[in-house]
Symmetry: C2
Subunit: 175 residues, 2 copies
């Protein structure tokens, strides 16, 4: 990560990383399947799925996902640490890495869909709800990384989820 930040992601070769770590290139690839993988490691998925599943089944799918995600972000104890912040910024400034976020989101999406369909929601509806919420959330995350405005990340995530919901709809109604 230090090398990436110093000289950029593309400009850093695996050989350099390996040398800095005092191991051979081969060893690097035994710990990280790809060079990209160094930057991606989120273990939050299961919490999210549980919280989505716990929402009132009477609500529309979109709303259940939204509230589940809101709960998940509020359950993250304190502010995001600097290392994470750096990672997100690195990703946001790199087109291919940004796209790579979606390889992670896909796993989250699948779990959410599973949680929803398990309680009677249709497959398509579940996919759309999960995709939309994750899409809005990711957009907010990337915006936060590239145009810092002092807002805390968790607060930003809340704002985003609100904007996708009823309150976001009514907020602008009488402008």
């Amino acid at each position: 990560m230090a090398l990436f930040v110093q000289q950029g992601f593309d400009e850093t070769t695996v050989a350099q990383i390996a040398e800095a770590a005092g191991v051979s290139q081969m060893t690097f690839f035994r710990y990280f399947p790809t060079k990209d993988a160094v930057v991606f490691d989120d273990p939050y998925d299961p919490v999210i799925a549980d919280l989505v599943a716990a929402q009132d089944p009477g609500l529309p799918a979109m709303e259940r996902v939204r509230l589940g995600l809101l709960g998940a972000w509020n359950s993250v104890p304190d502010a995001v640490d600097d290392a994470t912040r750096e990672k997100i910024r690195l990703i946001a400034g790199h087109t291919r890495l940004t796209a790579g976020i979606w390889e992670n989101n896909r796993r989250t999406e699948d779990l959410i869909v599973e949680a929803l369909t398990g309680t009677g929601v249709g497959r398509v509806e579940a996919r759309v709800a999960a995709g939309a919420c994750l899409g809005g959330l990711t957009a907010a995350l990337l915006d936060w990384a590239s145009e810092p405005d002092g807002q805390e990340l968790r607060e930003r995530m809340s704002t985003a989820l609100d904007l996708m919901g009823e309150s976001g709809r009514t907020a602008r109604r009488n402008r």
Copy 2:
């Protein structure tokens, strides 16, 4: 594309593609920046931005994007042709290519954001609305490609956009 479908994306080398096309490998890369680029070529973006900009500015951002996209899909004359269908299926069956969709979506997202902020919507709100709608739409597209249920693509896109809107919310309310 024929080669990709026959033997898979990863299993097809650009040397093979070049040979099949009767050109050198170098020439291939002069026409396509990457091997992935063969699969990605959507020129629909400008239409979308225009239609989003044309929505009633009194509506919330999320709604304007939703309706704009709905209009865009309805303006695509007739059903998607087989070649496109094949491309989508190819992408949907390949993790890295699926993530690659978002390199395209990002461009679309930027245009939508531009259209919205140009009419007074806040930056974050615009990003979230665009990200959410594109997220839901893409999820529906990928689901359509991997689990065919006879529904036409355009119809599927309409369904998806409805689910993200007011109607999607009320539809399930009295179940």
